[in-house]
Amino acid sequence: MISILCLTRIKDKSVIKFEHVGFRYGVGPEVLTDINFRLEPGSFHFLTGPSGAGKTSLMNLMYLGQRPTRGLVTMFGQMINDLEREKLAPLRQRIGVVYQDFRLLDHLSAFDNVALPLRISGQSEKDVKANVNELLDWVGLGDYKRALPLTLSGGQQQRVAIARAVIAKPRLLLADEPTGNLDDEIGMRLMNLFDQLNRMGTTIVIATHNKKIMNEMNHPKMILDAGRLHIENPASMVKEKIEGVF
């Protein structure tokens, strides 16, 4: 049944759907167990939980860095379990990721780092130039376009990483501790940027431990604990197991 489903392109409006997903590294123990959730277009979720709960592994599955060891994952209406490698590339282009360690290319300028997603998707240099300059100005790095990442402060590097994640107007934005190196003011400013993107239809998942931001923004929380996922509804603040949602 599962294999038949895998071969079928499923019409589904959800951006991500995880069904009974489990994940393990090699032959080790399962780090994610029976994960079930779906993210609707334009939704905004925080992903939180104690260290070692599996947040990074879950993010990894969501940005298609790994395939699940069991269960079904559907992204943008396509079952990805058995999808050919080459067909994953256009799906990845619809996802913007802000990594905790930024993952900037040290030999490229801030401009070229931010331009990467546009160049990968084959946009013209004219469009690349216009879009990147505008976004770098917006995040306050207009004067650092030709600066190499290693000469930028942690906060500036983070803004470059965020600009790179949002430049191609992704349908799904995943951010791992995006405000970790920023002061509260710049942190809130960037969260507002995420909020604006969300209002424009981008689905957003932010992994964070920052309770202040989570409380101020009042979005649902995906709480991971020992490899299992619960969703906390901000309105009722009642913990609800997602199992049985489908």
Partner: protein
Amino acid sequence: MRVILRILTWFLRPKDKKLGVAPDGGQRYDLPLNKGSGTGFLIMLVALMTFLAAMALTMSFVMGEITHRWAAGLENRMTIEIPAEDSEGKILDKAALREKAAKVTALLDKQKEFIASYNMMSEEEIAALLTPWLGENLVLQDIPLPALIAVDIKPKIKDLDAQITALQENLAAIAPDIRIDTHEDWLGELVRFTASLRFGALMVTLLIGVTMVAAVAGGINSRIAIHRKEVELLHLMGARDNYINRQFQRHALILCLQGSLIGLCGAFVIMGLIALVSGGGNTLLPDMSLSTSQIGILLALPAFSALVGAVTARYTVLRALSKMP
């Protein structure tokens, strides 16, 4: 001198005018492939291999030229030798030898259907042939010399072997120890010898090609390992395999082109020196001058090397990328 200084200045010009600032002029690579010590090493390796390949190919060409020259000199020729002694081992006097030779030439005169001309070699000509072995101070009177008749055979004669066999039988009637030397044995040995040398040279060229493929594959694999994080990042950002592959392919193509051009220039310099030392060819060795097509083959080496490098890089990178999810 001024030109050399300008070229040196261009090569040594500062690449980054300001510390910490990326150079202007457009980004050519997402991956920093052109940086690092491995680049120079790979260029040097390709240069050496191209140098060796060019020398091996030139050796093969020269061997071919030697075979051609020697074979052309002996083709359609044979020598009839009338020994200076009879079948019992008794030395013949010159009058008896001349008498035998006259009978032979009379027989040759009747063989016009396949013999174009013949030349009864004089004592001086025979002495000239012996000079390399016996020296110039040869006293001909003391040594019994055979009579030699150089015969030119008409080209494209059918049943030549049968004609020569018949001639041999007729000569045996004059004297059983008269020999016909068609040079076939010696020429065959020579052709086999030079052919084996040419084969060896071509095998060396092939081996160099295989070594180059292995070297480029190793170099690209080490580049992938060094830049694994960057490659993974591009992959996760949605870069297709070809997008990443093109960068490695172009990098390998440029390196191989640079290396092989250097190697070919070095080979041409050495060939020029060999030609200079050998004095432009002598009776045994041909000069180092190559035909237009042979020069064309040598000049095509850098393009071929670049192509091999690019194709090797392509398969190496695609293989490495196929292991990513």
